[in-house]
């Protein structure tokens, strides 16, 4: 026992710094949650501001557009969640079948790139591509149809958001599946080949089942983020015309909270998000443990 402790001390020391980081940047600010239950005035501070109970929460749910923004948030995030799993898995499977290493590496690097660009930049790219003079509308016009204002249309806005997010992140998202693929025992493939399995059969009967635990785990992790539909992306792409389908909790909170300096409301909205996220991540973790006996904690 003592020996074990001695052996592990360096590891605990290594953990110290991250724990300190957590304490300073994650635990200490928890104190600020109090603002959600106050009529917070910066000049008075947290200790002196008036307590209002659940008034801020009442207010948020009574807003004329609160149903709309919650619905938008959830629909967009679910779309992103689905696309963010299906596409990277599919891509990882395809990449896994490539035998020319140089080509594989090149493709992998290229698809990572957009992940490292900010939405402020990419929003310009997206709106140029979708603009009236962009390639997509040129194509539509050349077939004799009227151009479509993608970013100003309530039909197209959500698909554009989901697909462009998927385009940005799928390369990066596939890393974890690629690494999971490398850990599959090659013996399985060899014996399948001996039994005469085709490539597709090997994918369906070996690769995919072996990937399921990772997929479920990733889904569980991402469920916690269901109310984060992507502020910087939407903020840089939306406009009043698509508030109906594109205004999400974060953009709304930004407009009422930071611009109008309503700190209490912004905190309350953030707290609602965190609570829902917490419940989701706990329950999906439980499900993941029951189903595939893998869990985060």
């Amino acid at each position: 026992m003592k020996k074990r402790l001695k052996r592990e001390i360096p590891f605990h020391l290594m953990l110290l710094l991250p724990m300190l980081f957590l304490a300073v940047f994650s635990f200490a600010p928890l104190f600020g949650i109090l603002m959600a239950f106050q009529d917070y005035m910066p000049a008075k501070g947290i200790l002196q501001s008036r307590w209002v109970g659940l008034e801020n929460f009442d207010f948020i749910f009574s807003l004329p557009s609160s149903r709309q923004i919650f619905a938008n948030t959830i629909i967009i995030s679910l779309g992103k969640l689905a696309a963010g799993i299906i596409v990277p898995v599919f891509f990882a499977l395809l990449l896994n079948e490539i035998r020319v290493i140089a080509f594989k590496r090149t493709v992998q690097t290229i698809v990572y790139l957009p992940h490292f660009l900010s939405w402020v930049v990419l929003a310009n790219v997206v709106s140029s591509i979708l603009g009236f003079d962009g390639p997509i509308n040129s194509l539509i016009q050349s077939t004799g149809h009227d151009p479509i204002l993608f970013l100003g249309s309530n039909v197209w806005f959500r698909p554009v958001i989901i697909l462009s997010d998927c385009w940005k992140e799928f390369g990066y998202g596939s890393i974890i599946y690629l690494s999971a693929l490398t850990s599959i025992d090659p013996g399985l493939y060899e014996s399948a080949s001996l039994d005469g399995a085709s490539r597709l059969q090997k994918i369906f009967y070996i690769t995919l089942p072996m990937l399921v635990p990772t997929i479920v785990l990733m889904m569980a992790l991402n469920l916690g983020n269901i109310l984060n539909a992507g502020f910087d992306q939407i903020f840089n792409l939306y406009n009043p015309l698509v508030y109906e389908t594109g205004d999400i909790i974060d953009t709304y909170v930004y407009r009422i909270g930071l611009i109008d300096m309503q700190y209490s409301l912004a905190t309350a909205a953030g707290l609602i998000k965190s609570v829902i996220g917490f419940v989701l991540i706990m329950s999906s973790n439980l499900v993941s443990r029951k189903l595939v006996s893998r869990s985060i904690f």
Binding site: M41, S65, L151
Partner: protein
């Protein structure tokens, strides 16, 4: 080394002052916390003189900490002898500090707008604000007064504002200085927001000439011209590629901004985004029936293809780009639109000519202009600061003494040239009609006269305009800056001086309690409605349901609150 030395002195002074403060009299009286020999009456007199006269320096160096909006782009000074100037240390501070005998310490600097406001909010949240800082709106001022964090400056203003500074505030008919008062006491020295002239419709003169079109006057004229621009394609953009009128996504309601259609709304008697008095009652302009008339015309223009079909999705950079690239030859903007996008278009193609028009005129031949909020923020002084009058002294020094032509001496001139003149703490303090006065002086200087109240700045602009005229006379290509100055001052602001206009004076620019909570969602409804109706996404009658919903979602309470505030 020099900085260290300065800091040492400052620290010692602060220490000495702290010791002296123990013997200080109760608040309300003038502080006379000299560093030693509290009984010396000559020294007392010197402190009293400094505290009660606009320009008298302090007998000993006083350290003042500031919160400051970043004033200028110092990187433009690279390669000059001022290249090491920055927001913490520059020629302007040396001049001011030397003149009043104060040591200027900058607590925080933020870029104008959100960045600076956040820093102010943080300082307030900490309960630790600098001795003097600017706050950007009335609600912050009110908040500071309610939490008893700032000094009453009524007496300081009485003592330390020069006559010219008083005249400046008087030129706003009291609207400006009043806004810095709460319960009759002056807590914030307002930064003035001068009249920016009418909003102008900038048209491509070369296109008008090519199509043999006259400059417009009425709504019908504008519509005809836009139609000709779009159909005849005078800029050779290719069929269907010319945009009629490029418009801001917000449509209207922001004043002094570009690409807004305010003139068209006021033409029909509407005042979008403003609290106005109508038939003796305070009402919100955007929910009045006059809006509907203007919107009916605009949606018709949109349907005819006269308004940019991509209005909803363009960023401001996009809008500037379509004008600069010659894809669009018509936009609304104040006189300063000469810089961007007008001069951008000219720089790309020197055959571009612009003409700003004051349109659409009503039956009386005038356009109607909505007056802006006369105050652009307030200078406040921390409660308990020993020398509250320093804020007023700074204003008197910078906006009266140093602007007078007889002060234009080498140091200030140098500072002006180096651009450090933008390193002030208030933002601006100038006559409401400063733009017209400025135009008249520049015009007179160009005519070879020397107007007595002309400033160094005006001489500078006049010289630039002269260079433009000389270049044109000599058949040469003028410099872009000279081009902009000439178009802006001699063509743009001339219209403000010479073309009469009607005014709508909003009665309320601030915020109320319910507004703090509800305004965000009401604004959302409003911007959605404006854009959807103009773009023919919704029928015009949806305006009526917007009005109903607006009142039901808190608009009625807010209207009551605003009426009550105005009645005060």
């Amino acid at each position: 080394m020099k900085v260290l030395w300065k800091k040492g002195i400052a620290a010692m002074l602060a220490l000495l002052m702290a010791c002296g403060a123990g013997g200080c009299t109760d608040s309300g009286e003038l502080s006379t916390d000299t560093t030693s020999s509290a009984g010396s009456s000559a020294e007392d007199d010197a402190w009293i003189a400094a505290a009660t006269d606009p320009l008298t320096p302090y007998p000993e160096t006083v350290t003042v900490t500031f919160g400051k909006e970043a004033g200028r782009n110092f990187s433009a000074l690279a390669g000059t002898e001022w290249e090491n100037h920055n927001d913490d240390d520059n020629a302007m501070y040396d001049i001011i500090g030397g003149f009043l005998n104060i040591d200027i310490q900058i607590d925080f600097v933020g870029n104008g707008g959100d960045d600076y406001n956040k820093k102010v909010a943080m300082a307030i949240a900490d309960g630790n604000i600098p001795d003097v800082m600017k706050v950007s709106d009335y609600s912050t001022l009110k908040q500071l007064v309610e939490s008893d964090m700032v000094e009453d400056l009524t007496q300081a203003f009485e003592d330390c504002a020069t006559d010219r500074i008083r005249d400046i505030y008087d030129s706003f008919d009291g609207r400006c200085l009043e806004s810095g008062k709460i319960d009759g006491k002056l807590y914030g020295i307002p930064a003035t927001n001068i009249f920016n002239g009418q909003e102008l419709l900038w048209l491509r003169k070369d296109w008008l000439d090519k199509l043999n079109l006259e400059e417009p006057e009425t709504m019908e004229d504008i519509e005809y011209i836009l139609q000709q621009f779009v159909e005849q394609d005078p800029g050779n953009n290719g069929e269907g590629k010319t945009i009629g009128l490029v418009v801001n996504t917000g449509i209207a309601g922001a004043y002094g901004a570009q690409f807004q259609l305010n003139n068209i709304f006021t033409h029909y008697g509407a005042a979008p985004g403003q609290w106005i008095e109508k038939d003796g009652e305070v009402v919100y302009g955007s929910v009045q029936p006059e809006m509907k008339e203007a919107l009916t015309v605009l949606r018709d223009w949109y349907a005819k293809g006269l308004i940019d079909p991509q209005v909803a999705v363009r960023t401001n950079d996009d809008r500037i780009a379509v004008v600069a690239s010659g894809q669009c030859g018509a936009f609304f903007g104040a006189w300063w639109s000469c810089n961007s996008p007008a001069s951008d278009a000219w720089a790309l193609d020197n055959s571009v000519e612009w003409v700003p028009c004051v349109v659409p005129v009503g039956e009386d031949g005038k356009v109607t202009v909505i007056e802006q909020n006369p105050s652009m923020g307030y200078l406040v002084v921390r409660k308990g600061f020993e020398h509250p009058e320093v804020a007023v002294k700074l204003v008197s020094l910078q906006y009266d003494y140093m602007r007078r032509s007889d002060y234009v001496q080498s140091d200030v001139e140098k500072a002006y040239i180096a651009g450090d003149v933008a390193c002030d703490f208030l933002g601006n303090c100038d006559f409401n009609n400063a733009l017209v006065l400025c135009y008249e002086n520049i015009r007179d200087i160009l005519d070879g006269k020397s107007p007595e109240d002309a400033t160094a700045f005006e001489y500078g602009v006049a010289a630039s305009c002269q260079k433009y005229v000389d270049a044109i006379d000599a058949g040469q290509l003028p410099d872009k800056t000279d081009w902009s100055n000439y178009y802006g001052r001699m063509i743009g602001t001339r219209l403000a001086a010479e073309v009469p206009y009607n005014k709508i004076s909003p009665v309320f620019y601030s915020s109320t309690d319910t507004m703090k909570l509800r305004w965000g969602s009401l604004q959302k409804m409003e911007s959605e409605m404006l854009l959807r109706i103009v773009m023919n996404e919704d029928p015009i009658d949806s305006f009526d349901s917007f009005v109903e919903e607006w009142y039901a979602s808190g608009g009625d309470t807010i209207t009551e609150e605003v009426s009550a505030e105005v009645a005060k």
